[in-house]
């Protein structure tokens, strides 16, 4: 009888990968966006399995709540929902698929042949306080710079969307 975490991993992995496949294969942009939503949700669940509770939360709140909403806005503003089919020439799918498969094979090869840095995983430790401490001590610089990045993004977005 497999463990519960094993079962959960497979469920969420299949959700993640399955929806990701839909993201890249469907012709409807809206479907893609919704599938991406599900896929990202699956990843958030995987994060939980990896004991990254804070990150799972961030994933749901920021990624799904923020980025996806932005993307869906973008779709709605740039396409009429009724004819959201994308024009593509079918030819480009095949070489792309071959290329990607090749990359995938190489990746898997490297991932499985490399001896990764592995130790016994730390079990059941709360990460939020550690992250909080790190952000205000050794990671204080990235933390501050990130704020500048957001400021720049803000300025840029305003600049682009301002009326003449």
């Amino acid at each position: 009888m497999p463990e519960l975490t094993t079962i959960l991993f497979y469920i969420f992995a299949f959700i993640t990968v399955g929806f990701a496949i839909i993201v890249v294969s469907t012709k409807n942009v809206m479907y893609s966006a919704v599938s991406l939503f599900m896929s990202l949700f699956g990843i958030a669940a995987l994060f939980l399995l990896l004991r990254a509770d804070f990150l799972a939360l961030t994933q749901v709140m920021v990624y799904i709540g923020g980025i996806l909403v932005l993307l869906i806005f973008g779709i709605m503003l740039t396409t009429k929902i009724t004819d959201a089919e994308i024009k593509t020439n079918n030819l480009s799918y095949i070489p792309a698929a071959f290329f990607t498969t090749g990359i995938f094979v190489i990746l898997i090869f490297v991932l499985y042949t490399t001896k990764w840095n592995q130790k016994t995983p730390i079990q059941n430790e709360e990460t939020i306080s550690q992250i909080g401490k790190a952000l205000l001590s050794s990671y204080v610089l990235p933390f501050e710079i990130a704020s500048i990045v957001l400021l720049v993004a803000l300025v840029g977005a305003i600049m682009f969307s301002r009326k003449k």
């Binding site: 995987l46 399995l49 990896l50 920021v62 994308i86 992250i131 957001l150």
Partner: protein, 102 residues
């Protein structure tokens, strides 16, 4: 059967490849952006998996937080640019947005 690092890495590799596939084969700017989101998530999954199985503390999680944060900033700018393109060209397909040639 126990879930190991390699399981997570495989999921990450699949996501990465799918993202790459989306970037290569898709023509719509927003679709390409979605592909990029898949790649970034593959990276995050890697970082967190490594950090757990390598017993490396929270470094991996922290870098993931920053990746998410940058993804937000990038998406915001991307959206603004795509909307601007849409205003100028009336399309978001990058095949049709091609006024410069060699």
């Amino acid at each position: 059967m126990e879930i190991t690092l390699y399981h997570y890495l495989t999921v990450g590799a699949i996501l990465f490849s799918l993202g790459l596939y989306a970037m290569i084969s898709r023509k719509n700017a927003i679709m390409i952006l979605m592909g990029i989101e898949l790649i970034l998530n593959a990276c995050n999954l890697n970082f967190i998996a490594f950090s757990k199985y390598g017993g490396l503390g929270v470094d991996g999680q922290l870098i993931s937080i920053f990746v998410i944060l940058l993804a937000v900033a990038e998406a915001a700018i991307a959206l603004a640019i795509v909307l601007n393109i849409y205003n100028n060209f009336n399309t978001a397909n990058i095949d049709e947005v091609d006024s410069m040639k060699d």
